[in-house]
């Protein structure tokens, strides 16, 4: 916005009156979008904050309790454990997802005979829903009726059946692999569009100057895909911090509640223990954490030229 004001159009600067009328028009045009934001974002957000200040059972009458939900939350070890696990999962899945996505994007960025096919193949898992992918994975990892355990036994990898989902490490990695398989294609597309936007002459000039492939990647590609990478990173971190379906469907939060994520905890409080008010307070805190995380990422990845 400040940009526009400091560089007025060279011809016929608008009079204040015209500018004001244009402002009204602008508002009019954005009104539908604004209405959607108000109805589907601001009002629910306000409701959530309002509910978080009550003892609000799923059934029955709400009672004002001020900040009691927040003080309780401060001492609720299970919520902080859930957050800690969510953070751990976010770090692992983000590294896995963006690393693989970048590698895939580098492979399919150029036009070629088979690239269309590869792009499609790698993107295909993205269009399945998280719930259906999780159900598929739950079946594949079932120790009696699935694929992995019987197969491992058949080819002599394990002595007897090994229940992948019964131990934290194998269960955690199993779900993370599923998420990477399912979502890498999506981030591949974002990073690929970034790669394709890099003018070909940059690479060509560097090649003529004798830069190696690694040098070209590090000093041309990486700086120039900063913005799409920032987009992918923020989406990936936010998505992982809000993980729920896969842990609910495949692991039920087990083994021993070690894979209960933050959203899972909110779900449990709200719809299993029927404490909507407390669930709302947890949601507000999670929202604040996500906001802080996003701001940090934006800061870190901002183009230095802009600041």
């Amino acid at each position: 916005m400040p940009d526009v004001q400091s560089h007025p159009l060279p011809s016929a600067a608008p009079t204040p009156r015209r500018r004001r009328r244009r402002g009204w028009h602008g508002l009019l045009y954005t009104l539908p979008a604004l209405a959607l934001v108000v109805v589907f974002f601001l009002i629910p957000l306000g409701m959530t904050v309002w509910m978080s200040l009550h003892n609000w059972p799923l059934l029955g009458n709400a009672r004002w309790i001020g900040l009691a939900n927040y003080t309780r939350l401060w001492n609720d070890a299970s919520f902080w454990n859930a957050l800690l696990f969510t953070a751990q999962y976010t770090i692992v899945s983000t590294i896995g997802l963006l690393g693989l996505a970048l590698a895939l994007a580098l492979m399919v960025q150029h036009q070629g005979r088979a690239t269309g096919l590869y792009r499609t193949v790698w993107f295909l898992p993205v269009v399945t829903g998280f719930a259906s992918a999780s159900l598929l994975w739950a079946w594949l990892s079932n120790v009696d009726a699935g694929l992995f355990s019987p197969l491992a036994q058949r080819i002599g990898l394990t002595e007897g059946r090994f229940n992948l989902l019964a131990d934290f490490d194998t269960a955690f990695w199993s779900v993370t692999v599923m998420v990477v398989w399912k979502m890498a294609g999506f981030y591949m597309i974002i990073l690929m569009s970034g790669l394709q936007a890099i003018p070909g002459d940059y690479q060509e000039a560097a090649r003529i100057d004798g830069a190696s492939a690694l040098q070209r990647f590090l000093w041309i590609t990486v700086p120039l895909i900063r913005q799409p990478f920032a987009l992918a990173l923020i989406m990936c971190v936010a998505g992982s911090m809000l993980a729920f379906d896969q842990f609910y469907i495949i692991l039920n939060g087990g083994p021993r509640n070690q894979t209960v994520t933050a959203v899972y905890k909110i779900f449990n409080e709200s719809f299993v223990s029927f404490r909507l008010g407390y669930g709302a307070a947890l949601s507000v805190i999670l929202l604040l954490i996500l906001m802080v995380l996003s701001i940090i990422q934006l800061r870190l990845l901002r183009d230095r030229g802009e600041s």
Binding site: N61, A145, F162, N252, G254, P255, N268, V272, F274
Partner: protein
Amino acid sequence: MKMIRGAIALTALLALTLPAAGTRAETFSLWVRSGANDYIRELIASFEADSEHRVDLQVVPVDEMVQKYAIASVGGSAPDALSLDLIYTPAFARAGQLRDLTDFAHSLAWFDQLSPAHLSVGTFDGRLYGLPFSADASLLIWNKELFKRAGLDPENAPQSWTEIIADARAVGALGPETYGFYFAGNCGGCNIFTLAPMIWAAGGEILSADGQQAMLDSPQVREAIDFYRTMVMDGLVPAGARTDSGANFFGAFANGNIGIAPLGSFAISILNQQYPDLDYGVAFLPGQEAGQWSSFAGGDNIVISRSTSEEKLPAIKAFIRHTYSLAGQKILARRIGIPVRADLAQQALEGLDPRYALSTEAMQNGRTPYSTVFNDLINSRNGPWTTTLNRAFFADSEAEVEAALAAGQAEMQAIIDAAR
């Protein structure tokens, strides 16, 4: 037939004495949980055939019943009547969602013949809010074919925990793909239905009678866990049991490679209809010693929403009376194996699979724990009952079992105390 006409005449008579109610035909909405609910459709069809009233049946996904009801209730569109998993009746009544049915219940001539377990959880603060609608009892089921192959008497059910272990060992020895025993090791609902009765049979408790005291840390619970853990360590239970949150609770036995499984009366009708080739027997769930047995009394209570208008009450009451008629009880008997009215049970079960009679007897002596936080304590996939058992069943050491029980006891009591 006489009964139905009598019921209608009685309803009409009652309607005349109530100024607000009319005799005109009413349609009321009825919610039921998804699953085996063919009996409800049949019940409604037989009700509507003889009545001017109509029932608008809505099937709600079983796991979302409470949430959907709560949302509908806030939005002013709660169903008029609801077939509610009986364990939720105290929580619903406590939240002031239900109509007091005490006077109506006592006006029923056969009130003292109704399933006592249903009525006990249907009561809150001395008033009655739910009446028995459908029933489900826990039973031990064994595969006669596998028993024969293992050299056991296929007609003789194991009578105690030690006998179960011995029979499971014999069946388990048949081959690598055959297992002696199955239970869903990560499913609170399944284990309250099947393991808890074995603890009760042995004289133990999980909750005090008023639901205010957790009693997980007790010798009988320890023994019961030891009983399951022995079979796990001996490899008599498939590895999948450890992570089964209920999806395979019934299916494992139906596959035909499991010797013994504690299940419920619901299994009889499904096995008869879908697995006619499986030769199985049913028995009571035994305690530690021969001769002891118990059952969980499960099923649904029928309840009426507080917001339901007076005009609809005669129709709903007529439907409830119809359910308790011989015609209604016969439908229950044929479809789910258990009538909920004791004095008609024998008549209703006449000519049906004799195994049903055992369910009815189990039901009449069945128990339902009373708690307003049942979901939190028992059914929750991350609650203390589910996680404690899972940890203990598959523990590597005695110390681990002890630690699990101590933690579970503390967590259960904390949830109960927080709800007070």
